[in-house]
């Protein structure tokens, strides 16, 4: 999968390192380059020493360090060292290597937020242990000056700890309050601050009850929940970033006049309208433009879903995202960057996305119900006790106890603990959960919409009518097909070789980019290529035509190969009661044949991107919850508009960004697992909410009645947090 996404090999050795290094190369002082390579196949100590030893022994490499967890190598090299050289070196030694765009990885390398949270968690844990130790003495019956001293020491530990560790809660609560909203952090902050305040006051009056331990364990448990949440999302983000970084955004710009033309490698972002760009076979169009020179065929399947390659010659218009198949093309950029058709699609996505952003997560719903209730309950307890005893101290103490007991400690853990367990489980199966609410939304899905090309099909066509041809013809076709890098030719050559046929003896094999291959066989001209070039007929399928001498050309028909697990997935989904719909931009015949093959009753062909998005919106209006599975640019708006969305790792960057879940492997099988797991996860989250509520229902009356000692508060809180975490772990 990663190989397919590699950009065209770059030729300019001086600039291939990294965009950042390029800028440095312009400066007078040559500086070191920083190369990041992805090494997907390394797995052991021997691999680490192998790679580091190999790189260390290379000229120009100043230092190399392998990170086995991320399966990456970080290399400091002298200027002039290129990633391509190092990749070749490693691949010769048997290590698969790909260049990563180091600027796109910047966010993962310095996971500052994660380290920050971990530090706060560690400080809170340290303080919680010490304060608990002192509290145990108080609970066992320490009295008089001893108890006061223990309370003061606890205060001395708790105050600075809360000031440092609880900052994330205070900040979130403050932003929510300023915006006039209530979130989970408001009752949390209020409980912590009120507990600290009343405890300080009690301690200064030599009182019996202080809640320093409760305030600090509360912070500790909640931070643990936050950290879990952050870890899950950071892992998904880092993997998603790596996918993006594999597409190093560099293009070759043609400079100079037509006779003395030179090429230079520049970042795609530096292109201007009117620039001439050379796109090699296998490369993707970086910009919209017109073809100036060269002939080739274009694969537009990612944009339109069409499987059949399109002929492209001088004067033809190309759009960003199309793949050049056979011959090198020179194009003049007519729109760059944000103006390309690729980016214009983003507007469509933005419109579609506004529907989804209205989704409120289970945790938010719970918080909306919970936060006002807690405050009202605590205020009522305060008012009631104040009216009854006219003693501010007792009333405040009880209000604080109510807030601590009801504080959503278990609620704060209920969702992150489950999503961490579920995401970890799905990641091992090859699914990357990008959005935090994706699991919840996937659990509600009842309709699954599939794109055809590249999603249900592997995007690799296979010849279906080999038997119609004579062995002699197959030998000629094989020899011709071997001379071309066109995907149809390569697939044809593989199929004929598998049938055990030797290539015929041809001379003068020449490839005509955009048309086909031609050669001489026993004095006759033989051709393999497009219908219009060799004089073939019309056909609804994707075909390559073989012509021998003056005989009428014969077609090789191709059908797209079904992706692994697609048939099983569709059957399983239908058995489980999901509505399955096929939606494609391909021709009606192709889509109909494919839908019949997979047994999908409902299908839509020749759908434009707008049609796809509109259909998804329609289904949503009718009350269905749609899961969209697609990979192309034409699916992007539908992916963003659907209730939940999945795209394979081979999809365009734009499609991956728009979807909630990325499928890392080749097989589609994990999708039904993902739906099952998400349902179990949501059940588990609801159970956790219920458990937390039961603890509250039992403990709150005690707190309101003024019977809640710090010991009971600590017990209720820890017990509910631990039960909730254990319940989440059952998911594994």
């Amino acid at each position: 999968m990663t190989v397919a996404m590699r950009p065209a090999a770059s030729a300019c050795p001086a600039c291939s390192a990294a965009p950042a290094a390029e800028a440095l190369a312009d400066a007078a002082q040559p500086s070191d380059v920083n190369i990041v390579l992805s090494l997907p196949s390394i797995h052991c100590a021997a691999c680490i020493s192998g790679v580091e030893g190999l790189l260390g022994a290379t000229d120009g490499v100043r230092g190399a360090r392998v990170n086995l967890t991320l399966k990456r190598a970080q290399i400091d090299a002298a200027p002039g060292t290129t990633a391509d050289d190092l990749i070749k070196l490693l691949e010769n030694a048997g290590f698969e290597a790909h260049e990563l765009d180091s600027t796109a990885l910047r966010a993962t390398e310095t996971d500052k937020a994660g380290r920050d949270l971990l530090m706060r968690l560690a400080v809170a844990g340290f303080a919680a242990m010490n304060v608990m130790l002192l509290s145990v003495a108080v609970w066992s019956g320490a009295e008089g000056p001893t108890r006061d001293m223990f309370h003061w020491i606890s205060a001395a530990i708790a105050l600075p700890t809360i000031a440092f560790s609880a900052q994330p809660f205070f900040k979130h609560a403050w932003t929510a309050l300023r915006a006039g909203r209530l979130n989970m952090d408001v009752p949390i902050s209020l409980a912590i601050l009120l507990a600290l305040g009343t405890s300080l006051w009690e301690t200064s009056l030599s009182g019996e009850h202080a809640y320093f331990d409760a305030a600090i364990t509360l912070t500790f448990f909640l931070l643990a929940g936050r950290y879990l949440d952050h870890r899950t999302r950071a892992a998904a983000r880092s993997a998603a970033e790596e996918l993006a970084a594999l597409e190093v955004p560099r293009v070759s710009r043609v400079t100079g006049t037509s006779d003395g033309a030179a090429e230079e490698q520049v970042p795609a972002s530096e292109l201007a309208i009117g620039d001439l760009i050379r796109v090699r076979p296998g490369g993707r169009m970086p910009v919209d433009g017109d073809i100036i020179d060269g002939q080739s065929e274009l694969d537009r399947s990612l944009l339109t879903g069409e499987t059949r390659p399109i002929y492209a010659g001088p004067g033809a218009t190309v759009s960003a995202g199309e793949v050049n198949l056979t011959g090198p093309l020179t194009i003049r950029a007519s729109a760059v960057g944000r103006d390309t058709s690729l980016h214009r699609m983003a507007d469509l996505v933005a419109v579609a996305e506004s529907g989804r952003s209205r989704y409120t997560s289970l945790a938010d719903k719970a918080a909306k119900l919970y936060a006002p209730g807690v405050h009202i309950l605590s205020a009522l307890a305060f008012a009631g006790w104040f009216a009854y005893t006219l003693d501010l101290r007792t009333a405040l103490n009880i209000a604080a106890a109510v807030l601590i007991i009801t504080c959503p400690c278990a609620l704060g853990l209920a969702v992150p603990a489950v999503t961490t367990a579920a995401s970890g489980r799905l990641f091992r199966k090859g699914l990357l959960i990008k959005e935090s609410t994706a699991l919840e939304r996937m659990a509600q899905v009842d309709t699954v919409v599939f794109d055809k090309t590249g999603t249900l099909t592997a995007g690799a066509p296979q010849v279906v009518n080999l038997k119609d041809h004579a062995r002699r013809d197959l030998g000629i076709a094989l020899a011709l097909a071997e001379g071309s890098s066109h995907p149809l030719s390569q697939s044809l050559a593989r199929a004929i070789q598998k049938a055990g046929i030797a290539p015929a003896n041809l001379s003068n094999i020449t490839e005509f980019p955009g048309h086909g291959t031609q050669a001489t066989w026993q004095g006759q001209t033989v051709q393999l290529g497009r219908a219009s070039w060799v004089g073939g007929g019309e056909s609804p399928d994707t075909c390559a035509w073989l012509r021998i001498g003056d005989v009428v050309a014969e077609p090789f028909r191709f059908a797209d190969q079904i992706r692994d697990g697609a048939e099983a997935l569709v059957t399983r989904l239908q058995q489980n009661g999901y509505d399955v719909i096929l939606m494609s931009g391909d021709t009606t015949q192709a889509v109909e044949a494919f839908a019949n093959r997979l047994g999908i009753p409902e299908w839509i062909a020749e759908a434009l991107p707008e049609d796809k998005a509109a259909k998804v919106a329609d289904l949503t209006v009718q009350g269905s919850r749609v899961l969209m599975v697609g990979d192309g640019l034409n699916d992007t708006a539908a992916l963003a508009g659907a209730h939940a969305s999945i795209s394979p790792a081979t999809a365009l960057d734009a499609a991956r960004v728009a979807s909630d879940v990325v499928l890392l492997g080749h097989s589609l099988d994990p999708i039904s697992d993902a739906l099952d797991t998400s349902r179990t996860a949501i059940r588990r989250i609801r159970q956790n909410f219920r458990i937390a509520t039961w603890y509250n229902i039992i403990a709150v009356p005690l707190a309101v009645a003024g019977l809640c000692s710090p010991l009971i508060a600590a017990l209720a809180m820890s017990a509910s947090s631990i039960t909730v975490s254990l319940n989440a772990l059952r998911l594994k």
Binding site: C44, A45, R65, A122, V123
Partner: protein
């Protein structure tokens, strides 16, 4: 009970040493590659000097 005057500071200092050690490991980025660290110990390349 006078022993408390020694024991409480002692427990706090011991805990504090643990906390400081943990903060040091986070700051020096020892959690960036846990799998690599587990594997590197099996190889004798770094017996004489650690990988910088």
């Amino acid at each position: 009970m006078n022993v408390l005057a020694y024991l409480i500071p002692v427990s706090l200092i011991l805990g504090g040493i643990g906390l400081a050690a943990f903060v040091f490991t986070v700051k020096s980025r020892q959690y960036e590659d846990p799998e690599g660290a587990a594997q590197r110990i099996l190889s004798d390349d770094y017996d004489d000097h650690p990988k910088p």
